[in-house]
């Protein structure tokens, strides 16, 4: 047997492999060193990515927290003519405007978006595929374009800036985001559940209402809250259409104030006191946005736990 093997001509592949193994063994120490260095660099890059986050949060607390008082959060801003002598007043109406605009935009967008999501998850016709592509592209479009849209179709016909125009812009912004998230959530429901419902003789509307929507609820709620959070921080479309307001106003047909817009306006203000207060406004805005994003995490985690 061994004779037979030694008689065989040398196998070029085996020889080559031996050379490679020898070379690999010789370089393993150097390669390991380089590799570890590279891996450390990857982790370092990740830590570098967190520096801006840390810096932003630090800045918000360092410069913003001192302006946050109950008075600041609950009163109206100072008259522009009196700012030089007096305190700059509060942001109560901006908080109110933000909540109204974001809330009403959500009330308009959520039902539409859920039905679009349901349609996209149930249908795979050519029209549905086309709509799906459009919805996905819409989620990536710059929000300022919706400001132009709301300006042309709400501000121009009404001949006035209004909270309503902001609501229109934000709701069109929110629909694709919620529709996409809820489509994924609806698709994530096991098809056996749907088929079981249909096999029991339920209509597909009944199956959607009784099976699909409840089962997909955690994902849907996450998507809704995240899109509310995202819309709340949007400045660009709001900037073009809602105007400005120094008073309380519950009527979206009038001009309104809002936190992101106020942050933007204060940051470029001629009064140093307003420029400094921009951080207080920003902190209030970030707190509200974070509340929604963390809320979405909490709700979905909680609902998932309850399922088990």
């Amino acid at each position: 047997m061994t004779d037979l093997l030694t008689q065989l001509p040398p196998d070029p592949i085996l020889e080559r492999r031996a050379i490679i193994h020898a070379r690999a063994a010789k370089t393993i120490r150097r390669r390991t060193w380089i590799s570890n260095f590279f891996l450390a660099a990857l982790v370092a890059a990740f830590l570098i990515a967190l520096i801006p986050l840390g810096s932003v949060i630090f800045a918000l607390i360092d410069r913003g927290l001192s302006s946050i008082t109950w008075n600041f959060l609950s009163t109206l801003p100072q008259q522009p003519s009196l700012i030089a002598q007096n305190s700059i007043g509060g942001i109560g109406n901006a908080i109110e405007g933000t909540v109204i605009i974001d809330g009403l935009a959500g009330i308009i967008a959520i039902p539409i978006a859920l039905l679009v999501g349901l349609y996209l998850s149930e249908s795979s016709s050519r029209i549905a595929n086309f709509l799906r592509a459009i919805v996905e592209i819409m989620t990536g479009l710059p929000s300022i374009l919706l400001g132009v849209f709301a300006y042309e179709y709400v501000v121009v016909p009404m001949k006035a800036f209004s909270g309503l125009a902001g609501i229109v812009a934000l709701s069109v912004l929110m629909v694709p985001v919620i529709a996409k998230a809820s489509e994924l959530a609806f698709r994530g429901v096991p098809s056996t559940l749907r088929e079981a419902g249909l096999a029991l003789g339920a209509r597909s509307s009944r199956v959607s209402r009784g099976v699909i929507i409840p089962a997909a609820m955690p994902g849907v709620i996450t998507g809704v809250l995240l899109s509310l959070a995202r819309a709340m921080g949007e400045t660009a479309p709001i900037l073009l259409v809602i105007g400005a307001s120094g008073t309380w106003g519950w009527n979206p047909m009038h001009q309104m104030s809002s936190l992101p817009l106020l942050t933007y306006n204060y940051s470029g203000s001629q009064y140093p006191s307003q420029r400094a207060a921009a951080w207080g406004v920003a902190l209030a805005l970030v707190a509200m946005v974070m509340l929604l994003s963390l809320g979405s995490r909490f709700v979905s985690a909680r609902m998932r736990k309850e399922r088990r």
Binding site: R31, S35, F38, F46, L50, V56, L118, S143, V172, R203
Partner: protein
């Protein structure tokens, strides 16, 4: 209940068929509702696109192609040439990608393979937190922290090291395309990390283990196996990030200096398509308003095509091989 089942079993085939037909017909309102809503939203999108085209039309018919190729943009009086805005938009996006792509890919790899399991979800939610901060807050932060840092430290340093040669020449005022690009890179980082992590996570386990078993180090496997086999999806992630950077408005408007000019160095102030719309729309009337809508139309065409490309790439990447 028992009786029901009995009658059901006794009912003839045609009766069952009839019942199924009836239940299908009575479900029609539901189908109408779904299709109607989808159709309605499609119509809203059409109206949205039309509103931009319609508002831009006077400017397009007056100035024609000069809107794109004209090299000077003066609000209020004209001329309305978007070339400086287009170059600034593309330049800031490229700067953003230069910073965000390596750091984003490294973070994605670190999150997937290197960071201990215990803190992995915390680490990835920190990156997601970066996406939750509103754009205007990044602008404010850039204005208060990065502008002074640029004027006092970074710009003198870069000019000193390079001897003030291109592209580090010019004014050292902080507000610059470089600063805008840097702020953008922070803002698009979460997008790049999230998408590239998704596409890297579907790289088949066999490929990675095959590489390791051949004696490659982990670093070599990342560079020669993981990244190449996820490259389509990574390109998609980069394109999505670029799409965000191209359209980002408020933060850029706050730090770029709002000065429409063709950049001659990284330190020159500028203005992007989106930032110009944001800063000038308020005072715009007549021809300026229409010219700004033409900018919006350019922005829409550019970002829609970039996003469509990104969609094709990421979709292909997620397909099983």
């Amino acid at each position: 209940m028992k009786e029901n089942t009995d009658t059901d079993t006794q009912s003839s085939g045609s009766e069952v068929a009839e019942r199924i037909r009836r239940s299908a017909t009575s479900d029609r309102p539901y189908q109408f509702l779904l299709r109607g809503t989808a159709l309605f939203f499609g119509a809203v999108i059409v109206v949205f696109v039309w509103s931009v085209v319609h508002t831009a039309w006077p400017a397009i018919s007056t100035f024609g192609f000069g809107l794109v190729t004209g090299s000077s943009w003066v609000a209020g009086t004209g001329p309305y040439g978007a070339l400086p805005l287009l170059t600034d938009t593309v330049l800031t996006t490229l700067i953003a990608l230069v910073f965000a792509v390596p750091i984003g890919l490294a973070s994605a790899l670190a999150l997937l393979f290197l960071i201990p399991q215990k803190i992995r979800s915390t680490a990835s939610s920190l990156i997601e937190l970066l996406a939750a901060v509103p754009s205007v807050v990044y602008g404010l932060w850039g204005l208060w922290y990065l502008v002074p840092w640029f004027t006092k430290t970074l710009q003198p340093f870069l000019a000193g090291v390079t001897g003030g040669r291109w592209p580090f020449n010019g004014p050292q005022e902080g507000f610059s395309v470089l600063l805008a690009g840097l702020v953008l890179s922070i803002m698009i980082l979460p997008t790049i990390v999230a998408i590239s992590r998704d596409v890297i996570s579907v790289v088949p386990r066999d490929l990675i283990e095959g590489g390791l078993s051949l004696g490659a180090t982990r670093g070599q496997v990342f560079l020669r196996v993981v990244l190449p086999s996820a490259r389509t999806g990574i390109l998609g992630a980069i394109a999505l990030g670029a799409g965000r950077a191209l359209g980002e408005t408020i933060a850029v408007a706050m730090v770029i200096g709002s000065n429409p000019q063709i950049p001659h160095s990284l330190f020159t102030s500028g203005a992007t398509l989106a930032s110009t719309i944001a800063t000038q729309f308020g005072e715009a009337s007549g021809s300026t308003g229409s010219a700004l809508a033409a900018l919006a139309l350019m922005l829409m065409v550019i970002t829609a095509s970039v996003n469509a490309g990104a969609r094709v790439l990421t979709k292909r990447a997620r397909m099983p091989r």
